[in-house]
Subunit: 191 residues, 2 copies
DNA sequence: TTAAACACTTGACATTTATCAAGGAATTAA
DNA sequence: TTAATTCCTTGATAAATGTCAAGTGTTTAA
């Protein structure tokens, strides 16, 4: 039998050999993060990568005059500043829990060891990151070609639940609009 | 001695072994693309990946009412629809030459063979894509936190040459503004 | 339990950006 | 070389979005 983490690994990386799955998943540790607690602070180095098992984590940056939410990770998404995790650069984002959360965490040391366990790991992980890259391309495209209203609709259609789970101002920021604009767009959609 | 393509490979992927460099670069073929010609058409599958050696290539999408420029690739940048190239999905972008260009092209078949030549290839390539991902994150951030004016300044500072090389409307689109807004922002900056 | 803090909405207004239309300069094609 | 096309700019105006301030309901913390 496989547990939920192993199901993620299977679906994200296409690993199906049970012993490989087990050995990879053994590198991860389930970690609890209380609402409001930080997983990562801007400027520090990210030494871990995690998959969200339950709860909600917000990835954001603090500017002088405002806070910008880059992403909200729910069950199944990964969290880290990838660039910081991989290259050791200072993290550009902070990550904190919007509610009590559980995440499967792997240290950088163990992460670097996966390749020894699964010969095809780097290849599989590459495919995973290509998918992430592609999502980012689409997201940029949405900013080049859509209005706030259209970005709202599009995001709402694929993430309805989230609108009842987190302060809407965070979704507003993530979509590149103010809470006031978000509120007005939302009203139009509710009517 | 190494040629320019080998220098790219060296700097992007960190490969330093001369024989490895030579064997990888032998997979690439120099290809000429005349101004206005297409490298890739939206909807088709991308079976090649290329590095621009000279000239300028524009990556864009055609919408009903407008055209959206996603990126302009100059010397050293790669071109392809990565998701299409890797997964075989239909390309979301068209790519054409803004001027007579030369690109080093690798076919999907040979690309898939690099791993056999260089054992660490997938790992190195993964790092390359993580950097690309990171660039995309920053670009999204610029849309969440900056005005048209600020995006202009930021891009101008790192890409001054481009402003004399391509129709400015393409840069405008790539930065998410109309040519008129671009023109006005530009005027303010020239004064 | 109460006070404070937060989240959301709404209105009035300001600012930014887009749209439309016109004209001049530069480039391309006949 | 000339005509046509494209590119860029500019002005007038419209539309989208942001800002500020107030008010209400909800959540949090003392």
């Amino acid at each position: 039998m496989t547990n939920e983490l192993e199901e993620y690994i299977k679906s994200y990386f296409g690993i199906v050999e049970l012993d490989e799955l087990k050995r990879i998943s053994s590198f991860f540790e389930l970690q609890s993060i209380k609402k409001g607690e930080f997983y990562l602070k801007e400027g520090s180095q990210s030494n871990e990568l995690s998959f969200v098992q339950s709860g909600l984590m917000r990835i954001y940056a603090d500017l002088e005059d405002k806070e910008v939410t880059q992403w909200i990770s729910s069950k199944g998404y990964f969290i880290t500043d990838l660039s910081s995790f991989v290259f050791g650069s200072p993290s550009r984002w902070s990550i904190h829990a919007l509610e009590d959360s559980e995440v499967y965490t792997i240290s950088k040391e163990n992460y670097n060891r996966i390749g020894e366990v699964v010969p095809t790991w780097h290849q599989l992980e590459k495919l995973f990151i290509v998918r992430c890259f592609s999502v980012m391309e689409d997201r940029i495209f949405s900013h080049l070609s859509m209005t706030a209203d259209e970005r709202y609709s599009m995001f709402f259609e694929s993430n309805k639940e989230l609108f009842n789970q987190v302060p809407l101002k965070y979704i507003a920021s993530m979509l590149g609009m103010t809470p006031e604009t978000f509120s007005r767009v939302r009203k139009r959609h509710l009517i």
